[in-house]
């Protein structure tokens, strides 16, 4: 299980997260929703070691991740699908995927995982020799997701996969997330599309202004109350 305990983090003098605590149980899909500026992306970046943690801790199976280098996370089974996809635009689709298996222990399984990802996303197979920069938004998101899967992560952190995509593509991506969960992958999904997120999630956190306002099982969420909290109509 991945746990975040009393985490405080931000960018230099500007603090974003105010002592947040979240738990992401094994094999479950946990959604983090909230308006712009809630600190959702910052939380994922802090977990991955992309920004320093000021206070608190991040633990994976009671093993602290605080202060570890980002490049060691893949080896521990974590993969981040970053906001804005961050595909390597000047490289082919296939090379992008190969980068997902860069650490030496992952390289022997490269061919197998490439086949697996192409199986999940046939469109990427069609375009495997094309430059990633020439892909559409939906294809780029598939590539980012595929690249993350190349290291066979136990834990997938996904930052706003639906951003700017057509509904049909969003449905396709969410179907794949559901499939991954069924295979036992633990998923942390940051999403602004509350409706879609609630439909796939086991439990949900609502964040606003760097704090956790609500934590409930997805099935038990009262959408009116969520709506009110989201738009700050109540404490």
């Amino acid at each position: 299980m991945l746990s975040v305990t009393d985490l405080r983090a931000g960018y230099g003098a500007i603090n974003i997260l105010w002592d947040v605590s979240l738990r992401f149980p094994l094999g479950q899909l946990t959604a983090i929703i909230g308006p712009n500026g809630a600190g959702k992306t910052t939380l994922l970046r802090a977990i991955m070691g992309l920004i320093p943690v000021t206070l608190g801790d991040v633990t994976l199976d009671s093993y602290s991740l605080r202060g570890r280098n980002t490049w060691d996370m893949a080896g521990m089974g974590l993969a981040l699908i970053p906001e804005g996809r961050m595909v390597f635009a000047d490289m082919s689709v296939e090379d992008n995927l190969a980068m997902g298996a860069f650490p030496k222990p992952h390289r022997p399984a490269l061919a197998r995982n490439l086949e697996r990802v192409f199986g999940l996303f046939p469109r990427l197979h069609e375009r495997r020799r094309q430059l990633a920069g020439s892909l559409s938004g939906g294809e780029a998101q598939m590539l980012a997701l595929g690249r993350g899967l190349m290291s066979e992560p136990r834990l997938l952190l996904i930052d706003e996969p639906s951003l700017g995509l057509a509904p049909v593509i969003v449905h396709e991506i969410f179907a794949i997330l559901r499939g991954l969960k069924e295979q036992g992958v633990t998923i942390v999904l940051v999403e602004q599309n509350t409706h879609m997120a609630l439909a796939v999630a086991d439990s949900v956190y609502l964040m606003r202004s760097g704090r956790v306002l609500l934590n409930e099982r997805a099935a038990a969420v009262d959408s009116q109350r969520l709506h009110d909290l989201y738009f700050a109509r109540e404490g």
């Binding site: 490049w71 893949a74 080896g75 490289m91 980068m99 860069f102 650490p103």
Partner: protein, 312 residues
């Protein structure tokens, strides 16, 4: 052996044999070619750091100077054989480049400025530490390259063989890194360094390795130069020309290609010495600026890609 490697080998053999056979008796021309190839060596090292590491350096004179002084002092003060002192000088340049590591977090113009300042520090050190370097007076009577397998490497033709061998080794090493996993990762870093970290690339270490490799190559070339001209002084060994000429050469020839820096160095140096110098005995370097400006305007990718495009 694939076709490209075969071509490289044939070309190398031809350069080994043909140039000394044709110009071997003409010390002036051989000297010019060797000087051009020295610039080419630094240009390869500079292009490697720029292309693979994504760092623009204005301070390769520092590595060149450190390499030349290190090799000169190892042979003169400690009596090391020249051929052992040269690679050691490369390693010493690597050691000194490690002082640059904090600057690796800087990018673009900030890195360029930091390394420019860094190069100046070494020129001053070499001048002030006269108990070691004999300061501004300079070092003279630096040992020449030895005789090996009956070939006098200290002669013009012999030195030519040494520098061509060095350049071939540098290009082979550059090509190997570029084709490896690390080359792909370095390419990916140009798009997004954060994304490469997320997939498990120790980007700081990779950039440091490129700096070390570039410093090593430049240091060895500096050492070679010290043993061919047999004289060093701080203003010469750490002169800004060793930083600027290779940049001009690499950009002129095509810094994204493997052989562009070499072709660029030969063109630039020979045009400068044979043509511009006779037209403008003082300040002929200004013509290089004009040439570079024209090149950037009309063929920003350099000579080699321009040539390839015409024939494609």
């Amino acid at each position: 052996m694939n076709q490209r490697n075969f071509l490289f080998a044939v070309l190398l053999l031809a350069t080994y044999v043909l140039v000394p056979a044709v110009f071997g008796d003409n010390n002036y021309v051989m000297g010019l070619i060797i000087s051009a190839l020295i610039v080419a060596g630094i240009a390869i090292a500079w292009a490697l750091l720029g292309n693979l590491g994504g760092m623009v350096s204005f301070g390769h004179a520092a590595f060149f100077g450190v390499g030349s002084y290190a090799s000169a002092l190892l042979t003169m003060k400690l009596g090391w054989p020249v051929l052992l002192a040269m690679p050691m000088a490369g390693l010493i340049a690597v050691l000194f480049s490690a002082a640059m590591l904090p600057a690796l977090r800087l990018s673009g113009p900030y890195f360029a400025l930091a390394i420019l300042a860094y190069a100046q520090i070494f020129r001053i050190l070499a001048t002030e530490m006269d108990w070691l370097t004999q300061g501004a007076k300079g070092l003279s009577r630096i040992p020449t390259l030895p005789v090996l397998f009956g070939i006098d490497l200290g002669s013009r033709s012999g030195s030519y063989l040494v520098i061509v061998t060095l350049l071939a080794a540098f290009i082979a090493c550059y090509a190997w890194v570029r084709r490896s996993h690390y080359g792909t990762a370095l390419r990916a870093m140009h798009d997004s360094e954060q994304a490469t970290r997320v997939v498990g690339v120790n980007s700081v270490m990779l950039k440091a390795w490129m700096l070390f490799l570039s410093a090593f190559m430049t240091g060895v070339i500096g050492a070679f130069n010290a043993h061919t001209i047999n004289f060093l002084e701080p203003d010469y060994a750490f002169g800004g020309g060793w930083s600027v000429l290779p940049i001009v050469a690499a950009i002129f020839g095509g810094y994204r290609t493997l052989s562009g820096p070499v072709i660029g160095a030969l063109c630039i140096y020979l045009i400068d010495q044979l043509l511009f110098k006779s037209l403008l005995p003082t300040g002929h370097q200004i013509m290089l600026g004009v040439l570079l400006a024209a090149m950037i305007l009309f063929a920003p990718d350099g000579l080699l890609p321009l040539f390839r495009r015409r024939h494609a």
